[in-house]
Symmetry: C2
């Protein structure tokens, strides 16, 4: 059953939330209630617990029906034998959606699980209540203040994430934040007995606050509808999917995790090809690709320039450029002549890769000076810079020269934070805030860049009707 | 020309070093002299500069010949037109080896470069002097105190590294140190006009202080000899090679970096297969594989148990186990019954992967309790634990419980430091010092583990003559 915008609004930006089964003392459930208080859900929060008057300083109610105000959304932390009553209670109250954290359904592997899911769905349908889950972890939406954990980042951003793995959603939010990204809406969808990954991908595809969609999938219940949702969303914005359960061993793990069928990996590949969605091979790659889309505007082409201190990673970068179907930008004679005035001759090669050798050890600003010249070359679409200071003082100089340069750059530049170069979190944050994406290897940066280039070429073909 | 042990001793553990062309003021060259003072070369250091009396507080000499004591090794920082005289000066003094940092040889791409290399080698041969380089960055050997940079780690360890990329050697030392590894001998070999990667791989193969060899190669001048050296070394200890210049774009970059020929990638694959050496696809993978060999004893088998908080990475781990030809350890009924007493039922699956769901959020010690039980199962050869605290206080509890458990564990356990879990360097160091290897994803841990299992199986076959 398709969703309405009003239902999605109740799920992501409700005016009020009831937390049903909020425990009085420390249990995992209490974390979810605390998550609504820090940094803070913007509407009303009503803990429901028949044997408590107050929880975490909030007035507690014996049932949802006992709340004297309207309630948009309920979060159910109750056990599997109580969930039916809770949904009926919510239906009577006019609650629009229930996020069912409760487990013990399709993922249990015994036949009672799916039966329970069907029964729960019937109760919800009868009461006009939509369900997220069961066996899920809810919503993170900085706009409304819904969160998985206390002290999650409060800043809104353009990345939407849909996940069939609960706590993975929280890790992705943290990993994204370390890469300088902020999120619009993150949803842990659990067993998807009602609202599905397809629904949420479709919704994020239309959501104006979301410009990049990422998703973790283990399986789907409706491949045809998934293909349609992916294609519709991909025509508007990049959709990056990490799909596991690729091997039979992985498929078994999927069955006991969310109870889904993983499906043939070839079929999945064809879904990606047909829909324009982007397949990430690993969690790290999904984050890398999202990072590239986050920082790189869509107008870029395939010609990359490599600037490097160490020679080995520069060669690996050249390999990665060919391997990913990109092009080594042919630097003009004028550029090479300008570089010759900046870079001392010892051990350095001024073709592309621009191999600076040990020159930056004497003068760290050679990195930013080289980047300035390379950026101005008309045959360069984007640059990859492998470098940085080797001591705290040269690292600081590197940082300052790169920050000073950024506003005048015309092209994106991906920075490679080889360990020992740029491991410091504050240092990375400053570069990212200025608009430089950071990657841990040139191969990862270039692989992610290739997905960006391919995606915008595909969209152009689609838009021109070729 | 093969090396003698006396020559290698002069290169790695000389009693005295002359630094020829040490500049008086700050230039890259001065860094190399400072590197010998901090943390400190154990023998005598003689800066050579005809226009200085003292450099960095050391008495300077106008030539190597003017030094009143014997000199084992010289480091030449001079320009290409001076290098011939320096080598002759060293030969007259009886210096056994010269490390030629000087560039402007085969890597320049013009015909004069190789010709200069031949001439330099002839001068060295005539004077019975061995050369490392040219276009190299020297030696890091904590035993003697030789180092690339000031304040490199002073601790000796079992990893030897041979590199055709100069500053990469320093990054590998730093990256290794972040993974808790220490080094025996690291050598930047440059253009290899005399002593070659083959010589150093053979030497490290026989070196008792080295039990793991890693190498970065772009090409070789003698494939047959490389195969022989790799095989001889691999029969004694693991040899992990990162080879770049795999594509034609990469091969061009190699030509301007070290002047080598990259060679056909298929031929390289066959060298790896025939020799028993282990091929790493990326720099990160080389470090991962070395890390696995560093922490995991050779007696381990192919059966892995996965313990995870988040479900998605657990499924990815199961995929990686099949993909790498490993086996999901079938946990015994006894183990599962013991786990049932530890892990609350909500959302958790106690098969392998042991999916703990949100249970650790209420009690973080569930990780170590689960590991204790899984470790005791006879069908488990090693474990992968994907978990950790999500707040500073639970992270501290996680750390303490894992450190307390370690001495009683019978099998290796690889920890996955998903960002947000275990990003703190001090935290990682403590776990690594206790003997836990850390990896940034289950795929990387399992891929590296597979190389360890394969290597020891190969060695067993070789030793039994099959």
């Amino acid at each position: 059953m398709s969703y309405t915008l009003e239902q999605m609004k109740a799920i992501f930006t409700p005016r009020s939330v009831a937390v049903v089964g909020a425990p009085r003392t420390f249990k995992p459930g209490l974390v979810f209630l605390q998550a609504l208080l820090d940094p803070g859900f913007k509407g009303d929060v009503f803990p429901i617990n028949p044997s408590a008057d107050q929880i975490l300083g909030l007035k507690a109610y014996p049932s949802v029906g006992a709340i004297p105000m309207p309630v948009d959304l309920a979060i159910a932390l109750v056990s599997v034998d109580q969930i039916f009553d809770v949904i009926e209670d919510c239906a009577r109250k006019g609650v629009k959606a229930v996020i069912v954290f409760t487990s013990g359904f399709g993922e249990t592997g015994n036949s009672a699980g799916p039966e329970r899911e069907r029964k729960m769905l019937a109760v919800a349908r009868a009461g006009n209540v939509r369900l997220v889950g069961p066996n899920c972890m809810g919503i993170y939406c900085p706009e409304s203040g819904l969160a998985f954990f206390p002290s999650m980042p409060a800043i809104e951003g353009p990345v939407g994430f849909v996940s069939q793995s609960g706590s993975l959603s929280a890790f992705v939010a943290l990993m994204g934040s370390l890469r300088g990204m902020s999120f619009s809406k993150v949803v842990s969808i659990g067993n998807e007995c009602d609202l599905s990954s397809n629904d949420f991908i479709e919704y994020l595809g239309a959501d104006e606050k979301t410009t990049i969609i990422a998703a973790y999938l283990e399986g789907t219940r409706d491949g045809k509808e998934l293909l349609r949702a992916l294609r519709r969303a991909s025509l508007k914005k990049p959709v990056v999917i990490w799909k596991t359960g690729r091997t039979s061993t992985g498929a078994c793990a999927v069955a006991s995790h969310t109870g889904s069928l993983a499906g043939s990996d070839d079929v999945w590949d064809s879904v990606f090809r047909q829909s324009g969605a982007i397949r990430a091979q690993t969690l790290e790659e999904m984050i890398d690709i999202a990072t590239a889309f986050y920082y790189i505007p869509k107008t870029t082409g395939r010609r990359l320039a490599i600037i490097s201190g160490p020679g080995g990673p520069a060669v690996a970068a050249a390999d990665a450029i060919e391997h990913n179907g990109l092009v080594m930008a042919p630097l003009s004679e004028k550029t090479i002549a300008r570089l010759r005035r900046i870079v001392p001759p010892s051990g350095a090669s001024l073709r592309n890769p621009v191999d600076l050798g040990v020159a930056p050890w004497a003068m760290i600003s050679i990195y930013s000076d080289t980047l300035r010249v390379v950026d101005a070359d008309e045959s360069v679409d984007a640059a990859v810079l492998i470098g940085g200071g080797l001591t705290p003082s040269t690292q600081q100089e590197y940082l300052e020269s790169m920050l000073e340069l950024k506003p005048s750059l015309k092209k994106p530049c991906m920075l490679i934070s080889l360990a020992g170069f740029t491991g410091d979190i504050e240092f990375c944050k400053k570069l990212q805030s200025a608009g430089y994406p950071l990657f841990s290897s040139p191969e990862r940066a270039i692989g992610a860049y290739a997905k960006v280039a391919q995606y915008y070429e595909w969209r152009k073909r689609m838009e021109s009707g070729d």
